[in-house]
């Protein structure tokens, strides 16, 4: 049996035998950049097989949370567990073993610009398996067919539109059938059609692969259509959570303002600053006049 086949069997066995309902568990997680606190004691549970969104304004700590789950950052305090293993405590070898079971879609795809679409999707297979070229070819074509880009396998990343690049990156991320898929702002900068296509793909691939998915986004309309559960973050803390319906019906001022895109609310348009009059020296002039 090939190495990939064996790994696939082991993964199925692991998923059957491991009783934990939650694939990802985050407890009392704090993270600081230098002295600046980014995450302040957040708690999350991502159940197996579910599609969960982490939402919030830019800079609220969503992507940092994703990086902590992927082991790219280590928690200052608190715990991040994936499949029962403490991610922050893994050495490089074990972390890389765990990452082979994860897939991540980056904000702008992060395709390797010196490789064709085909080679991008085949990248992980070549790096982590000894599969013969014919099998790799079949697998790459299957993944590209799943994202609707079978005919684009010879193109280079520079020849792709933003939506196509995102779909190729998605095909690359699912190349080894990961148990956990992470999406970092998958809808950013897409036209409405590409946006719906990517949204549907995320949902369908999650169900077809039997994977668990985390989507970090601030695109409220598209994500609420496809997710099972939502965590709302603001200023490094989880301020609300619930199903898509719960979030839509939420009376919390921040969530209400965010979901309905209102200008007035707890989130101010202005960055904190001294009084405008003082900045324009009007107060000084009026005191001179007096």
């Amino acid at each position: 049996m090939s190495q990939a086949g064996l790994e696939c069997l082991l993964r199925i066995k692991e998923q059957i035998l491991v009783p934990a309902e939650n694939l990802v568990e985050i407890s009392d997680l704090n993270f600081t950049y230098g002295k600046r606190p980014i995450l302040k004691g957040i708690n999350m549970k991502i159940p197996r097989g579910k599609l969960v969104a982490i939402m919030g304004l830019s800079g609220c700590g969503k992507t940092t949370t994703l990086r902590l789950i992927g082991g790219a950052l280590k928690p200052t305090t608190g715990s991040v567990k994936v499949a029962g293993k403490e991610v922050g405590g893994l050495d490089t070898e074990d972390l890389y073993k765990m990452r082979r079971k994860m897939g991540m879609l980056f904000q702008f795809g992060a395709l390797f610009t010196d490789l064709s679409v085909y080679e991008n999707v085949a990248f992980q297979m070549r790096e982590h398996t000894d599969l013969p070229e014919t099998v790799i070819r079949d697998l790459v074509m299957m993944k590209l067919q799943a994202v609707g880009l079978l005919g684009a396998h010879k193109l280079m990343p520079s020849e792709l539109s933003g939506g196509m690049a995102r779909r190729v990156a998605l095909a690359r991320a699912i190349a080894l059938d990961p148990m956990l898929m992470m999406y970092d702002e998958p809808f950013a900068g897409l036209d409405p059609i590409s946006l719906s296509v990517i949204g549907n793909l995320i949902r369908h691939l999650n169900d077809a692969l039997g994977a668990t998915s985390i989507v970090v986004t601030h695109d409220i309309q598209e994500s609420l259509k496809i997710v099972d559960y939502v965590y709302f973050m603001a200023d490094g803390v989880v301020v609300a959570e619930g199903s898509a319906e719960d979030i839509k019906a939420s009376k919390l001022p921040f969530v209400h303002q965010f979901v309905w895109g209102e200008i007035d609310g707890p989130v101010s348009f202005h960055y904190p600053s001294p009084p405008y009059r003082k900045d324009l020296l009007l107060e000084a002039q009026s005191s001179y006049a007096a």
């Binding site: 991540m104 992060a110 992980q124």
Partner: protein, 265 residues
């Protein structure tokens, strides 16, 4: 107030020194990691060969054209000086020794830093800025092993070959000007060269120099790219630093190596 200014000045100097030492330590660690992660560069030799093409083969034109002109100028200037002493027959040895010992390795390294070093820095810096390196890490592939090490060994292998070609075409340039255009005796030109150039003392030392320059230039280019802030400005500054630092490193190392290799000869 003057005390405060002095304190501020000392603080800035201290911060610059600490930052410099920290950066040197980080660069050394990066270099060691590259050496430790070099296995894949030889197990999957196609990765290294591909980089030899981009760093070495693509630098051939600039190396050959520059070498030809440097050799021609050497022939011209050498003849002007030697004829005053009636020693124009020594032109061959002057051109060959200048190129093989000094100009070949040094100028080829400077050109290599400008052409290939800057390209390596820009490529890796942009890979970082577009999250390609992060994507690789998330796919459980070590970027140092997959991206950095093959480029390092490609640079180390390419550099001596480019320096050798620079010297060879430079000698031909000297021959062209000295023998073909000016009319120095062809037999004297080649026989003096053959008698003066020692394989161990001149050729091997020149090759050693170019290997050392190859290590220095490629390591600097890779480090600057890997350490570049992931912005357009960051990559631009890193590329400039690669060329400046490499040039200074090559000239400094050349002096040190020359002291050890040719002292008392």
């Amino acid at each position: 107030m003057p005390h405060r200014k002095v304190g501020f000045g000392l603080g800035s100097i201290g911060a610059a020194v600490v930052n410099g030492v920290w950066r040197l330590g980080y660069a050394s660690r990066f270099f060691m990691m590259t050496l430790i992660s070099s296995g894949a560069s030889f197990r999957r030799i196609h990765l290294t060969i591909r980089e030899i093409y981009f760093s070495g083969v693509m630098s051939l034109i600039i190396i050959l054209v520059s070498g030809l002109f440097v050799g021609m100028v050497l022939g011209l200037q050498g003849y002007e000086t030697l004829q005053k002493y009636g020693s124009e027959s020594a032109l061959g040895s002057l051109v060959a020794l200048s190129l093989v010992r000094e100009l070949g390795p040094v100028l080829a390294a400077l050109l290599f830093a400008s052409r290939a070093g800057s390209a390596i820095t820009a490529e890796i810096g942009l890979m970082k800025a577009t999250e390609q390196l992060s994507a690789m890490e998330m796919m459980a592939v070590d970027p140092i092993s997959r991206v950095v090490a093959p480029r390092f060994w490609a640079g180390v292998i390419s550099m001596p070959l480019l320096a050798a070609m620079f010297s060879a075409i430079g000698v031909f340039g000297g021959y062209l000007v000295g023998v073909v255009f000016i009319g120095v005796d062809e037999g004297s030109f080649w026989s003096q060269m053959q008698a003066a150039v020692d394989f161990r003392q001149d050729i091997v030392n020149g090759v050693i120099k170019s290997v050392v320059f190859g290590i220095a230039v490629t390591a600097i280019a890779l480090f600057e790219g890997y350490d570049a802030p992931p912005t357009a400005e960051g990559v631009s500054h890193a590329t400039t630093r690669t060329v400046v630092t490499s040039a200074l490193a090559v000239l400094g190392l050349d002096f040190i190596l020359t002291v050890f290799m040719f002292r008392g000869v």
